[in-house]
Amino acid sequence: MIVYIAQRLLAGLGTLLGVSIIVFILVRALPGDAAVMMTGAGGGVVSEQELQQVRAKLGLDQPWVIQFADWSERIAVLDLGTSLRTGNAVSADIERRLPYTMEIVVLSMVIAIGLGIPSGVFSAWFAGGAVDRVLQTVSMIGLAAPSFWIGLLLILGLVVLFGWSAPLFWEPFWVSPLKSLSQLIWPSLSVGLRQTALISRMTRAIMLEVLDEDYIRTARAKGVPEFGVVFRHGLKNGMLPVVTLIGFEIAALFGGLIITETIFSVPGLGQYVVSSILNRDYPAIQGVVLLLAGIVVVGNLSVDLLYGVLDPRTRRGRAVA
């Protein structure tokens, strides 16, 4: 088990290095010049000399290899640099925005798991029946509908029914939890519905398989009530792939939030990364993208390790992360 963990950790570190190289190259490939953006030039009022000075200050005149070495050295001590747009330390910007994003992620996963697993189980339990048909159709549509469109429809509905408008100030969770939850429930719903459909379909597929197993027949034969058969004997054994899916989906959720946060104008990480990319705010893009990719790597790693703990058979020979 220790060898297995060490292997996975090493692979994870390698992936992170690869990620940082890709981010670095990608950011350098963005058109537009950070120095030009910073000095507000464009009308030609700033001389080439001044631009050179700004570039030298930012280290942009150094060769790429040196820039990368500098950058990774600072990353190692969690110094992500200063945002060109807000003028704050990128890590401070992230710190302020992360709670909103985390709250949406947790809330939408609660919605997705709370609705998805039971509906999937019931679908499989009464496979072919009316309930199953309805749930299948709804989840099929749920998978096809883009989450940002669901978000837009939610806004339409909220405005028409309740005269809703985007909050000017988004309450942080620790200041007033209830108010914060009531504000963030809408973006969470719009991302959560897709995950609900996904989890529901996956649970159904697995439960159909599990309910066909010999031990389920045995449980029925010895007189376990049907509810116990489905939930205790069935669901417990079918949970493993669902747990994996949930792990991967949490990681993927961070990506989906990019557009949902923009639509609802939630001041979270997704919105931050969009405006950073559109404004060529190099340090901010690097910092946030690295963080998001890092979360994905760590998420996948924990799913892998969790899998090893939950199912001892997989500890060996799982070469693919």
Partner: protein
């Protein structure tokens, strides 16, 4: 596929047949847009701003008085073209990388795996957004930007099939008869690894359509005044809600239909090609 076989496939997979039909209708609508569009998609009518759906403008008009139906038909060209282009390009490139890496093994495989792992760590939309911004807004750049996140996902599946195929007796036999590596890959591995690749290509077709709309919405894709489904929805939903909700609603329905159709088609192809494959992606 011959017609009688197609008909029998349609009978066995009625949902897939519906999906294929919807796809076909949308493709026709996009192709024939210049013929069947009732209005010019980019020219607005100043006296018909925010017109509600009615007998003249079937699906209403937008803030510039442009006909939504016409814009949907023309926008379908962008969505379907980008969706098809991105999924075909992404899956082909990914499959090539995956098969070569899996077949070669050793250091080539390790390096390719690390690169793919790193690419996989980026949320799809984030990678596409950064690439689209880096490359600049144009149709072909959007296709490239959306194909990139598909590459590692296709590569992983192609590599897995290749690793299994590599150990089979018929590949060994092919090698024993003196087939070159290239011939083994093209004639023996590729055809046998094709089914799962076709399935993910249809799955990513839907995803690419959604992400293309997202890029346009964020302003990193197709630019005004060109019509595209994602672009049509952009603008403040809060202020449109009471004025002209149809501006937001109809393009979304178009996206839903396209994605639903491609998902249904993909499921049907999966079941027809290999009933054992599970739909645990998308």
């Amino acid at each position: 596929m011959k017609w009688p076989r197609l008909a029998s496939a349609a009978r066995r997979q009625p949902l897939g047949a519906i999906g294929a039909t919807v796809m076909l209708i949308m493709a026709l609508g996009a192709l024939l847009a210049p013929v069947i569009s009732p209005f010019d998609p980019t020219a607005g009518a100043p006296d018909a701003l925010y017109e509600a759906p009615g007998p003249i403008y079937w699906l209403g008009t937008d803030a510039f008085g442009r006909d939504i139906l016409s814009r949907l038909l023309y926008g379908g060209r962008v969505s379907l073209l980008v969706g098809l282009g991105a999924s075909i390009a992404g899956v082909s490139i990914g499959a090539a990388c995956g098969i070569v890496a899996g077949y070669a093994g050793g250091i080539i495989d390790s390096i390719s795996e690390r690169i793919m792992d790193a690419l996989l760590a980026f949320p799809m939309l984030l990678l596409a957004l950064a690439l689209a911004t880096a490359l600049g807004p144009s149709l072909s750049n959007v296709i490239v930007a959306l194909a990139m996140p598909i590459v590692p996902r296709a590569a992983r599946i192609a590599r897995a099939s290749t690793l299994v195929l590599k150990t089979t007796a018929f590949i060994e036999a092919a090698r024993a008869t003196g087939c070159s590596d290239l011939r083994i890959i093209l004639r023996h591995i590729l055809p046998n690894a094709f089914a799962p690749l076709l399935v993910i290509a249809t799955a990513y077709l839907g995803l690419a359509i959604v992400q293309e709309a997202a890029l346009d919405y964020l302003g990193a894709g197709i630019q005004e005044p060109q019509p595209s489904w994602g672009l049509m929805m952009s603008g403040s939903a809060t202020s449109l809600a009471l004025v002209a909700p149809w501006i937001v609603i109809f393009p979304g329905i178009a996206i839903c239909l396209a994605v639903l159709a491609s998902n249904l088609l993909g499921d049907a192809i999966r079941d027809l090609l290999d009933p054992k494959l599970k739909s645990n992606f998308v």
